[in-house]
């Protein structure tokens, strides 16, 4: 026996996700964006555990205070602690963003896969997508807020009802880009040999979709997920800012900004905090998406 000309690889094969992570690390903006987003999520969800002041606790003697050690972000016109309100508002805004994104993602991937995979459904589903793209979304969202607020409030209570309403209306009006991208990728994948091979050994359609198609369209889905969070947070804040979002005593970042504009001349810093929080969250998510797109694209990876 001669020795093997090529030595046996000593290192175990690297997984795909390790490569993705390596590429992601090299994108400095994405890394910072991801860290910032993680920090914001931790701050809004875990922050209230370390900060005992309640977001709704009124202390009228301490109203309109500037930043101090007791109230790092100051207090509002009713003496409520702004830091606690920022964390409570952030928890709502980020939750709305995440859930609405998940809903839009689910709808978009489902419709995209269906349209790409089943030829019969392609025409009708894509016409539906075009139709949704032709709808004026912000006006429609405002109209939906106006119409369904009362009945949902009656059923689920004011906070739950409006949460469900906002999440659903943002979800059903923002799935179209995902559906289009996913459909395009599925159309291309469907003609590939591995799909044909899987079909030839008798894999059912549902098996094909879950085993072979979905994992391969995961990267565009993940990229549109990050962008979806950004648009959902901005849309929710816009609705709150226009006075058609959450009820007044229920803080969200958009609502806080809207309330603060009344005291613009006396206390401009109160506008600054929520606006900065929205902008930073969206900025970090956008950078995260940018990095993910590069990291998940095998043509760029390893260069």
């Amino acid at each position: 026996m001669t020795e093997l000309s090529n030595p046996v690889p000593s290192k175990p094969p690297r997984s795909q996700w390790l490569d993705v992570w390596d590429q992601f690390k090299s994108h400095r903006g994405a890394l910072m964006g991801g860290a910032l987003f993680l920090f914001i999520i931790l701050a809004v969800y875990l922050g209230p555990l370390f900060w005992d002041l309640e977001a709704t606790q009124i202390d009228i003697r301490a109203r309109n205070q500037g930043p101090s050690w007791a109230h790092p972000f100051g207090t509002d016109q009713l003496g409520r602690d702004m830091l606690a309100r920022m964390m409570a508002g952030g928890a709502t805004s980020v939750s709305v963003g995440l859930t609405a994104m998940l809903l839009a993602l689910f709808l978009g991937s489902f419709i995209g896969v269906m349209a790409g995979f089943f030829k019969k459904l392609d025409g009708p589903l894509m016409r539906l997508t075009d139709l949704f793209l032709a709808l004026p979304l912000l006006p429609l969202l405002l109209v939906m807020m106006l119409l369904f607020r009362e009945p949902l409030n009656a059923t689920f209570g004011p906070e739950q009802g409006i949460f469900i309403l906002i999440v659903i209306s943002i979800g059903v009006t923002s799935w179209m880009p995902t559906a289009r991208i996913v459909r395009g990728d599925v159309l291309a994948l469907k003609e590939r040999e591995f799909v044909m091979a899987a079909r030839s050994i008798g894999t059912t359609n549902s098996g094909l979709i879950t085993r072979h198609i979905l994992p391969n369209v995961l990267s565009p889905i993940m990229v549109s997920a990050t962008l979806g969070i950004a648009t959902a947070i901005i849309t929710e804040s816009s609705l709150s800012f226009l006075g058609l979002g959450f009820p007044p005593d229920f803080p969200t970042w958009g609502r806080l900004l809207f309330d603060a504009t009344d005291y613009l001349q006396q206390h401009p810093e109160r506008v600054f905090w929520p606006g900065m929080a929205i902008s930073l969250t969206v900025l970090s998510v956008n950078y995260l998406g940018d990095g993910l797109r590069d990291a998940l694209d095998p043509r760029i990876r390893g260069r």
């Binding site: 006006p139 106006l146 119409l147 900004l257 613009l264 600054f272 902008s279 900025l283």
Partner: protein, 335 residues
């Protein structure tokens, strides 16, 4: 090309009809009562009559049909009447706003100039800023200018207009006192001072809108330039000995403008939608503010008509973008 345009125009009709039906049905579900503002001392039977006078007594499909007739048949007649002084629409019932009891289209026509001035200027300013930025960032890819451009457009994407608007109000109106924070639409430009004042009050809303549009357009311009800069014809042009200016500004730019022009066309209707917030921040009484006011006052005919106008704009500019693409790029033929 012509047959394609005609086919698309015909296809747009059922789309628009369907959209108007969706909007109508959505509004039908409205729990709000247009009589809610009427004092309680008004007896119930009088209220019922007022309801009938608003056209609420008819079944749903008849009201939808009436709205369609009013919007697509009577309103164009009113337009013709106004232009040529004829009397086609005399005595015919138009779409009436519940808030003001005057025809919706009259109010829209009053509000459109303000929106067009602010939004239109913002769009032109944004294009003028975005194109050079995009071109130069692509030409010097990964230079500090490109990195700055990327960062600024990321910020433009991320900062919502209701924050950037309020922020510039705080800085330039409250702290520095340079510009008025409220857009005065009754202002008449008749002298140099009045013109300067008009400029001052337009700067902030225009800049806030332009920042967003610039962010998107400059990214598109950059990507499109980058696609073209490495093409073979660019090498050929350089090999022929053309100057760098001619290569970039004539050969590459003309080819990269094709997708950008369509993106500009596609963006116009969404600008009307995006302007809703900016108009609200700066109190510009344009179409966006009209819509918000109508929604808060439960003025359904107004909401229906305005939303539909937005939909018409979207469909129309989609069509224009497709046709432009075909005209500008000879490789694309729809037939």
């Amino acid at each position: 090309m012509l047959t394609f345009t005609i086919r698309r125009l015909i296809l747009a009709v059922p789309t628009l009809l369907f959209i108007s039906l969706v909007i109508f049905l959505l509004l039908e579900l409205a729990p709000g009562d247009p009589m809610a503002q009427v004092p309680l001392t008004v007896p119930a039977e009088v209220k019922e009559k007022m309801r009938l006078a608003l056209g609420l007594g008819e079944p749903m499909h008849i009201r939808f049909w009436k709205w369609l007739v009013q919007f697509f048949w009577i309103e164009p007649q009113v337009l013709i009447d106004n232009i040529f002084g004829t009397g086609l629409a005399d005595g015919k019932l138009r779409v009436i706003s519940w808030q003001t009891r005057s025809p919706v289209m009259d109010i829209v026509v009053q509000r459109i100039p303000q929106t067009l001035w602010v939004v239109g200027t913002a769009y032109v300013v944004a294009i003028l800023i975005a194109l050079p930025i995009g071109i130069y960032s692509a030409y010097r890819q990964y230079s500090w200018f490109d990195q700055m451009g990327t960062f600024v457009s990321m910020v433009g994407f991320s900062v919502p207009p209701f924050f950037s608007g309020v922020l510039v109000i705080v800085i330039f109106s409250v702290q520095l006192g340079w510009f008025p924070s409220i857009y005065d639409t009754t202002h008449v430009v008749d002298s140099w001072d009045a013109f300067v004042y008009q400029l001052k009050q337009m700067i902030m809303p225009v800049m806030v809108l332009a920042l967003q549009i610039t962010a998107q357009l400059s990214r598109f311009m950059r990507a499109s330039m980058l696609d073209n800069l490495n093409q073979d014809y660019v090498r050929t042009a350089r090999a022929k000995g053309l100057s760098e200016y001619v290569v970039v500004m004539v050969h590459v730019l003309r080819n990269s403008m094709i997708p950008v022009v369509t993106v500009i066309a596609l963006g116009i209707p969404s600008i009307f939608g995006g302007a809703i917030i900016t108009e609200q921040v700066f109190k510009v009484n344009g179409i966006g503010q009209l819509l918000i006011g109508a929604i808060q006052a439960n003025d359904l005919p107004m909401v229906q008509t305005l939303t539909f106008i937005f939909a018409v704009l979207i469909v129309l500019f989609n069509l224009i973008a497709d046709v432009l693409y075909g005209i500008l790029d000879p490789r694309i033929r729809y037939d």
